[in-house]
Symmetry: C2
Subunit: 325 residues, 2 copies
């Protein structure tokens, strides 16, 4: 893991933050699971820096979970620089520093939603204390199988509260960006029920860092209560089969559309860390589509952007309506 | 299904050929399986033409199989035209005609390899009988789980024989193109043991059509005997688990690297037909890699290009060596 020479710089503090957050989240997940523990893999990046991947599988609550951090630096290839900046920066230096945390949890119980979050910082310039350009990105999103409106609302309420407490954050805008990003055009459906997503936050770095830190610290509260609440819900082969079919959509999104995955694979990133996000099991059936009158078909209502926090409890299709079994 | 007005044109004869081949292959696969039958879906392309998708699942021998044909025509979008031609054609017309057959079989028994093949024809110009430009593409490749050298050799011997019987075909070159195409750079391994792959065959259209027809007709003979021979091989949970982990690599190739999949998804093709190639089940485990001393680890030896037909029977690592269980 690369040392940052100036620990007071945002780079240094963000690095310390993501590493601390990784430890906190790992402990909380192991406590939740009560059975499996994380396996730890430290890796070096040939060009500079490295990372720490932590993976758990076969747990009582988590079928597969990954929490990765990385701290990388060096010289960016020209093509990557151009691609990365997308015309948004005037920087001509290729010296970069990046650090972040990324996590994905795939639970055993189909009543617990899968969840993904990441928080990252990127800086250009030799001097870490005075970067030529720097920005933050990140977000969190939820992917339920058998959705509960109150769970979706709890998740969104958590992120709205974090945004509302920080002037530089805009829940409405970040929610919209999340909906736009986690969308499968070839299926005409969202990956899940969204959350927040932001990128290129380059104004007011100290204020933005404070927001990102608060967001990272809010993560466990956004999801852990859902896992605790649903972990004892009874399920059987039917629910597991549906979960596997839905996880195939998660795979399709990550491999066909996710920019981070594509960027990582194309630039020779560490494959196992990049693909840690993939679910443990997936299942494809030709032309599979759930009967709208079943509880499985009910999920479709949730797979389009909605103003979740404004919805009354009886807004979704009922779970136990006539025929919906 | 779009009518081709001049049945004597290559376009018309190729269309008739792929439709007949689809029927032949479907019958043979149903006879092999003895339990499941194909479900048929005819679809229309808004811009012109359509296709016939045939899918089978839950069979005694085939866990999932798809055989698709399409006959499409219309006006190509500028961007697609440029992308498609890649500077290889002088054609300025956007009027196109394309027809082809594509198939993927994923067997139940992990001792039977998965197989993929496609044969396709593309023409530019208003007059089907005198196209401004036209070319053929296609190929076949094999993806074993528990490989047998004799099976790999049978498959390659079949394709070499077809190529050797046609002056315009070159087994060595087509095999190399197959090895280059079906490769996962992020895993540093081949998708399987290759086969033949060719594209842009535009010289001598009649001779090329004769070759493509012979190749299509050779398909069943390249794979059916392997399925017949291995279908009774005993297997259990261990073999099925390994098969699912390997099928995850198949998914990774198709969604991350396959040009046909990307082209289809990006141009708004029929999702279910494009993704029919995906295996029925896949499994991802973090940093999974088989012990080289097991029979599962033995597969790795096969996942790099080799001159299969020149190999002696004892070339691969032994199946039952000390410790290889």
């Amino acid at each position: 893991m690369s040392p940052v020479h100036n620990e007071a710089s945002i780079a240094g503090r963000m690095q310390a933050f993501v590493q601390e957050l990784q430890r906190t989240i790992r402990s909380a997940v192991e406590a939740l699971d009560g059975q499996a523990t994380f396996r730890e893999d430290a890796w070096d990046r040939p060009g500079g820096g490295g990372g720490l991947s932590a993976a758990l599988s076969g747990g009582a609550v988590l079928e597969k979970a990954g929490v990765n951090t990385s701290v990388v630096h060096g010289e960016l290839p020209e093509a990557v620089l151009a691609d990365l900046l997308g015309g948004r920066s005037d920087a001509t230096t290729r010296s970069f520093f990046a650090t972040g945390i990324s996590l994905v949890f795939h639970p055993v119980n189909p009543y617990i939603p899968s969840v993904h979050a990441n928080f990252r910082y990127f800086a250009l310039g030799e001097d870490r204390s005075r970067p030529v350009d720097q920005w933050f990105g990140g977000g969190a999103d939820l992917t339920p199988y058998y959705p509960f409106l109150e769970d979706v609302q709890h998740f969104h309420r958590t992120w709205k509260a974090v945004c509302d407490a920080h002037d530089i954050a805009d829940y409405e805008a970040f929610k919209q960006q999340c909906d736009a990003y986690f969308y499968l055009p070839h299926r005409e459906e969202a990956r899940g029920v969204g959350g927040v997503f932001f990128d290129g936050l380059r104004d007011a770095p100290e204020e933005t860092f404070a927001f990102v830190r608060a967001a990272g610290e809010a993560f466990l509260g956004s999801w852990l209560p859902l896992a605790e609440c649903r972990r004892a819900a009874p399920f059987g082969e039917r629910e597991r089969a549906f979960q596997a079919l839905r996880r195939a959509r998660y795979v399709e999104f990550n491999l066909l559309h996710d920019r981070g995955t594509k960027f990582g694979i194309d630039t020779g990133g560490r494959t196992e860390s990049i693909l840690m996000s993939l679910p443990p099991r997936a299942r494809w059936e030709y032309a599979w589509t759930p009967d709208p009158e079943t509880v499985e078909g009910r999920l479709q209502w949730f797979l389009r952007p909605r103003d979740w926090l404004a919805l009354a409890p009886d807004s979704p299709p009922p779970r136990n309506a006539a025929g919906r079994t």
